[in-house]
């Protein structure tokens, strides 16, 4: 089946020997043997990320990584330019890092995802430099809706390119991202899934929200769910289009919940207009940022998780849905196929009729639905914290062991 648009990225794996160890220009980075000597003397690995926020996949990953580094007997602190209030006790302002936490026995793990205001100061870090690449969204997605965000992503990409010559060890959370690093001549990137603790998803959902959602679904109509920030690269408009066709062709009482705060207010506004235009105002809910208890209620009550996102560096909500036993239908772009594995119905088209038919197939075929749910549980197990921690450890030891 031919898609309306092609995927923006390939999910094929990069060459494992795609690093540039052999082509290291003199003076641009230390020779491997020098790094090994220095690595053995490491006393700390600190982490830096531009924004440190609660209920954020990168923030959670950074906290888990800190535990891991400390378990190796090394000191580890988290630094950021923008620490959200709820994370203040867990992170330090960037200025504290600049004031001399380093020295050449301290490594710095830089989490790359957005532009950094103090980038030049970070480049002057004396010790070993690690890059953890979470992926940077293609600025083209934001050009029309949020030119400021688009500029920030362009800046982030320029900064990433500069990091290549400074980086000792590079980590990416998908082959999709690793391919980008290899193109920029980073040292052979290691692919390590993002560190995710699914335990918080086993907590009790918000009772009132749960009751309300259950009441809404009493008529047997389907409840579609998508969780992710309202940003143009997530392509909520494609999802709304597919849902509109599904509702018109199969299930007039079906509902769609879009959970996540707005990264682009103008895109949010355009989605509201789209819902009005397609006469979906009563059946599509733009739920904004919600409490963890509310989120769990949505996962408990959803019949289907549908993602039309065109750009993901990993795709945490896919796994959260699988953990909750919700079957997943997703557009196979960027890192989505890698993350979903064989546990999702992956589509190479976003045509609204095709997506509606795929959703109908899952919802109308109990056997297929059960097999996707079962595969989803298996996928979550594969990417559980118990499994991914040692992968991260292995990547960190790459430098420590020389």
């Amino acid at each position: 089946m031919t898609g309306r648009r092609g995927s923006r990225g390939s999910s094929s794996r990069p060459e494992r020997s795609g690093g540039r160890e052999a082509a290291n220009p003199p003076g641009s980075r230390d020779a491997p043997e020098e790094r090994a000597t220095r690595g053995k003397a490491l006393t700390a690995i600190h982490q830096f990320l531009p924004t440190f926020a609660d209920r954020d996949a990168i923030g959670s990953h950074v906290l888990e990584t800190q535990r891991l580094i400390r378990s190796l007997g090394l000191a580890s602190e988290i630094y950021s330019e923008d620490i959200h209030p709820e994370m203040r006790g867990k992170g330090h302002p960037f200025e504290a890092l600049a004031a001399g936490t380093g020295g050449n026995t301290a490594g710095l793990l830089y989490h790359a995802s957005t532009g950094c205001r103090n980038f030049d100061a970070l480049l002057a870090w004396e010790g070993p430099f690690f890059v953890d690449y979470h992926n940077i969204t293609d600025p083209a997605f934001f050009e029309r809706w949020s030119p400021g965000a688009s500029d920030n992503m362009r800046l982030a990409r320029r900064q990433l390119a500069q990091l290549a010559s400074r980086c000792d060890v590079a980590i990416a959370h998908s082959h999709f991202s690793a391919e980008e690093l290899a193109t920029l001549s980073f040292p052979a990137p290691r692919v390590v899934p993002i560190l995710l603790d699914f335990a918080h998803l086993d907590a009790a959902p918000d009772r009132r929200r749960l009751a309300r959602l259950k009441r809404a679904g009493q008529d047997g109509s389907a409840h579609w769910l998508y969780v992710g920030r309202v940003a143009p690269n997530k392509c909520h408009h494609d999802l709304i289009g597919a849902f509109a066709v599904y509702r018109a062709a199969f299930d007039p009482q079906a509902r769609l919940s879009l959970v996540g705060g707005a990264t682009s207010e103008s895109y949010w506004g355009a989605l509201e207009s789209l819902c009005r235009e397609l006469e979906l105002r009563a059946s599509v809910e733009l739920a904004d940022t919600i409490s963890p208890g509310d989120l769990l209620a949505y996962y408990r009550c959803a019949d289907l998780f549908v993602s039309m996102s065109e750009h993901e560096g990993f795709g945490v909500p896919l796994l959260e849905a699988m953990h909750a036993g919700v079957p997943v239908v997703a557009y196979a772009a960027s890192a989505v196929p890698e993350t979903a594995g064989d546990a999702a119905l992956l589509l190479d088209t976003k045509d609204p009729v095709a997506v509606a038919v795929a959703a109908r197939r899952v919802l109308g075929d109990p056997e297929l639905k059960a097999s996707l749910v079962k595969a989803g549980h298996g996928r979550v197990e594969e990417l559980s914290l118990a499994n991914t921690r040692w992968m991260m450890l292995d990547a960190l030891r790459q430098f420590l062991d020389g």
Binding site: R13, A140, V245, S273, P352, V357, M391
Partner: protein
């Protein structure tokens, strides 16, 4: 059907095997679209509406740019009411109701202006195309005349 196969290089398998589930999807879509009860007009409306929100192409030609102006010139006066602050939504609803007539009046004029600019753009694009064709014709004629002149010069 599903693209993208690969493996994590440190032990976790990533391979999708849902070919059976997605197999025949194209035929199922065709069958649905051919069914008499299928809401074809609504589906066409959906496709058009969704496509309008797609990312912009890297470069826009004149018709593409004019289509974008047409689209953006439709002023939406139905301002969003979302807010996290308690009571703010009620205030927004009141303000929206009080100013709706005024915003609609302004919005209609701006939308009309946008349409007029599109018409101007279309007329200019048509004129430029006409001039370009005339220039091409003239270039051909000059080339022919130069060739004839050279032939005559050679003959003399």
């Amino acid at each position: 059907m599903a693209p993208g196969r690969g493996w994590y290089n440190i032990g976790v398998r990533i391979e999708q095997g849902n070919g059976q589930a997605t197999g025949g999807l194209e035929a199922a879509v065709a069958e649905l679209e051919a069914a008499p009860r299928f809401p074809a007009a609504y589906a066409a409306r959906v496709r058009a509406a969704v496509q309008r929100l797609d990312p912009l192409p890297p470069t826009l030609d004149v018709p593409g740019a004019l289509a974008l102006v047409t689209q953006e010139a439709r002023i939406d006066v139905d301002a969003p009411l979302r807010t996290r602050r308690r009571g703010a939504r009620a205030a927004k609803v009141v303000i929206k109701r009080m100013t709706a007539w005024y915003l609609k009046y302004l919005g209609d004029q701006v939308s009309d202006l946008g349409q007029a600019i599109v018409h101007l753009g279309e007329a200019l694009a048509e004129r430029v195309d006409g001039v370009r064709e005339e220039v091409d014709d003239l270039r051909d004629r000059v080339a022919r005349l130069e060739a004839q002149s050279r032939e005559r010069g050679d003959g003399a």
